[in-house]
Amino acid sequence: MTDSVLEVHDLNVEFPTEDGTVRAVRGVGYRLERGESLGIVGESGSGKSVTALAVMGLLPGTARVRGSVRFEGTELLGLSDARLSDLRGSGVAMIFQDPMTSLNPVYSVGYQISETLLRHNPGMRSRAARARAVELLGTVGIPSPERRVDNYPHELSGGMRQRVVIAIAMANDPDVIIADEPTTALDVTVQAQILEALETARAETGAALVLITHDLGVVAGHTDRVAVMYAGRIVETGSVEDIFYTPRMPYTLGLLGSLPRLDREEERLTPITGSPPSLLNLPPGCPFAPRCPLRRETCDRTEPPLRPAGHAAHLSACHFADELVGTGAGEVFDTAGADTEALARFADTAAQAPSTHAEEDPA
């Protein structure tokens, strides 16, 4: 009954640098069922994009990649570039964040869509490819596609370009689409349009989706399951309901509590103090411990494994996951803003200070 299209197991990515080895991805694993959508969330530097690039075999040669990535049973790591090229686009397609750099500025968008079609369909005539390109542009919501097909990327707006990228991604009916921050560079009204186009692309191709984003709102609306990444690892994973309603990793809880929300009355936000650790010479123990309000001695010694919290499909990497049952972010995290004492002193001196109002005669 399991019909997984993509299986990532114990993926590790390291970049040797002059200062030492950067462990960008540490033992990431996930499984994507056919047609399913998985959201990967995390802040800058959490390793979410590197994971995607490793899956696609797009990392630079200096990167050391270990582990296993299986697409429909075929191991992708170590596959020749030619074999990978056969799979890219037709098996697994990728949508990048910045459509200006992922499209080639010197070719028309029609040419670039046709190119992907012809690459994977040797028998196809260029006229048929062009017709299909027009059709695809229409599908992703580009108005008057028969005219737009001859446009160059610079003639299109950011939102239009991202639609073209989606059209290219769906051109060869892939089984998996990996979208890496597909809407981050765009305004919200355009983001809504692009997410709709992405849903259309999925509906048309039946592709499974890996949606990488830092925006928890986007994940809430567009994915079935979520994996939260921190310091190169998945620290919590489960259904969207598990993650959003019963988080069992302090980081997830803090992240949710730090989001200002449109649908709630003013409520104190819960910042997570400090910054994510450097992935160079990561100390032992839980990488979130220095920022964690639940930190104990154990946390500094051993890194907690990802294990069931609540039920079998909801995993969390925290020694004290059980303590989070039924707690809100505000109860666990400090909601500090300004230093209260300094603020009181500052307010006092402000009251005493002579008026700073400029009283010079304007003449």
């Binding site: 802040e43 800058s44 108005p143 950011g158 939102g159 239009m160 305004d187 919200v188 009204t189 355009v190 809504a192 349009q193 709709e196 830092h214 925006d215 928890l216 709102g217 986007v218 994940v219 809430a220 609306g221 969207v240 309901e241 959003f244 803090g254 992240l255 509590g257 730090s258 989001l259 200002p260 929300r261 449109l262 649908d263 709630r264 009355e265 003013e266 104190r268 936000l269 910042p271 997570i272 910054s275 909601t335 500090a336 803003g337 300004a338 230093d339 300094a342 603020l343 009181a344 002193r345 500052f346 307010a347 402000a350 200070a353 700073t356 400029a358 010079e360 005669d361 304007p362 003449a363």
Partner: protein, 356 residues
Amino acid sequence: MSAPTEAAASLPPLPGHGGRGEPVLQVRDLVKHFPVMSRGVVRRRVGDVHAVCGVSFDLYENETLGLVGESGSGKTTVSRTILNLETATSGRVRYRGHELTELSRRRMRPLRRELQIVFQDPYASLDPRISVHDIVAEPLRIHGRYGPEAAGEVRELLRLVGLNPEHANRFAHEFSGGQRQRIGIARALALRPKVVVLDEPVSALDVSIQAGVLNLLMDLQGELGLSFLFVAHDLSVMRHVARRVAVMYLGRLVEVAPAATLFARPAHPYTQALVSAIPLPDPRKERARRRIVVQGDVPSPVRPPSGCRFRTRCPKFAHQLTDAERTACVEQVPELADRGGGHPVACHYAESVALL
């Protein structure tokens, strides 16, 4: 000049905008155009970017007014023009009896103590070559207030914004993005301003860091009674920090209302589209929501549409109005006025809708 007599009077506040108390900063019919030059050896002015077109609002004492809009809406130009960092093409900006748009740089300088700004990019807005102490002390020096107690004052400012005063000798690059933004806030507060313009102060930060800066700003505003003009593109942030919100589209204000009203019952189709486009981090609510999706992209501000500037993307214009009704949208610029909903809206066919 009749400046001294005129200086005594502030302008009548804008009716219906929902402000409380005394307006401190009044903006009327502000216009800012940037010239578009032709290419080639002889560069001629071939047109204008209509960045800000007739924006009016009042910023009241002790309030946070949010100015929200997408990229290219002119919100940053508004914030720079009202501080006289850009020269207004026309319009008035009144601060405590002074007409800021008419002041020279020299005459503006004493007022800069009271009108401060925090910039978006905490990397570009801090001098990398001087210590954090010097960054925060710089406004004191410029305004001749760097006395014997200044070092203590700077330490106190750093403490106030949640930084360790012992780090005052470090340089900006040694701090994280969130900490840098706190340095920028400390610098803005050094002269004890009355009005602070915050231009996208948290948009470069990760959410977990952003929350701390937002909490800080809210504490400062509440405790010190400052007036904040908070410019941002993120409606969720606005909902959190602002008491009143003004929505901008392509150089014009389209709706001004108390935050609670604006988000619960937006009346302008653009505000409605914005509110419904913001994803909620709540799977059940997010999936059950009604969406108002607009078409296309923001038109060029060089040649903005006639009449209502939003009509080219407006779902109401496209699907609900009759041809006769559309004539008004094409021919008449909708005024920002109360149309029965209790707050000003710039739409001929404004209608409140509950979206959340």
